[in-house]
């Protein structure tokens, strides 16, 4: 759901650049509480793995598909502020090196996948943590990407090139990604469960294991 150049009105792009800059700046300051210096390599690892995982476009017959985004996963493993830093790195490099996502749309893309997806995913995981690691991270992965898609739908839907068709863009983005997001949920839950069982010290917050 990387928005290319030409989709967003410049005013919309500018608003999201500003909002994103504020949250990313704030995250950079707050991340200090989440990160002891020894954890910095884990932030790099999570970001690199998410970058690589995003290259794997799911080959679903019929064609309409997506790839893993990983905002919720980053938030759950690293905490929301460090997770935001990891996702910002991924999106910045995707845009600048690979032209995946437009330069004008970078603020919006980071907002969707590096802010909304990360923070919503993290807090949903925390909220549901009493239900166990797998369920809470699965729902977080699913809801995080769905919310990110709804935001993308709003951003293009309030832009003139999409003729302000919010009533089309939001349902199309939201419904499709709610369906495809089930895969995101399962991957998120699988990875979080694995880390929780093998290296729980890496997780920012470990949900209760239900027997």
């Amino acid at each position: 759901m990387h928005i290319p150049d030409g989709f967003l009105d410049l005013s919309v792009a500018a608003v999201f650049y500003i909002m994103t800059a504020i949250v990313v700046g704030f995250s950079f300051i707050k991340a200090r509480n989440e990160l002891q210096e020894r954890k910095a390599p884990v932030v790099g690892m999570v970001a690199a793995a998410i970058f690589a995982a995003q290259m794997l476009n799911w080959p679903i017959p019929g064609g309409t598909s997506a790839h893993f985004v990983g905002g919720s996963l980053a938030g759950i493993i690293l905490g929301p502020y460090a997770g935001c830093i990891a996702m910002t790195s991924v999106l910045l490099i995707q845009t600048l090196v690979f032209a995946d996502g437009g330069i004008t749309a970078l603020g919006a893309n980071i907002w969707n996948m590096g802010v909304v997806n990360v923070f919503a995913g993290y807090y949903i995981y925390r909220l549901l943590s009493r239900r166990g690691i797998f369920l809470s991270s699965a729902v977080a992965g699913w809801a995080g990407i769905t919310l990110a898609a709804i935001f993308a739908g709003i951003e293009i839907g309030i832009s003139s090139s999409f003729q302000y068709s919010l009533m089309v863009t939001v349902p199309v983005m939201g419904v499709w990604h709610a369906l495809l997001g089930i895969v995101e949920g399962f991957i998120t839950a699988g990875v979080v469960s694995y880390i929780a069982s093998s290296r729980p010290d890496i997780l920012e917050f470990t949900a209760k294991e239900v027997a």
Partner: protein
């Protein structure tokens, strides 16, 4: 190297090896994302002049398989370095207080 870093590198390498296969499969099924579909529905065309150094995860002049793989390796290394560097700087901020 710690056990965790070793496992991570194997996992990353696995993803990168898979990436050309997935790129090929995506081409066969006619991969398109909901965002592209809704743009097509409403007749919107992207207007992206900037191509990047490795446009769309390819290396100009190289075949799709090696181009995708090299793009993946280069991209993950840059992302790794950048996220690590930012996290290191963020974690150190204000550390010299009281020294």
């Amino acid at each position: 190297m710690t056990e965790f870093s070793r496992k991570f590198l194997i996992f990353l390498f696995l993803l990168l090896v898979l990436s050309p296969i997935f790129a090929y499969a995506a081409e066969i099924v006619g991969y398109s994302e909901p965002l592209e579909n809704v743009a097509e529905m409403l007749g919107v065309e992207e207007n992206q002049e900037y191509e990047g150094l490795l446009p769309d995860y390819s290396v100009p002049g190289l075949d799709m398989f090696s181009g995708t793989f090299i793009s993946g390796v280069v991209g993950s290394l840059i992302v790794l370095g950048m996220a690590y560097g930012l996290a290191k700087v963020a974690s150190r901020r204000g550390d010299d207080r009281g020294h």
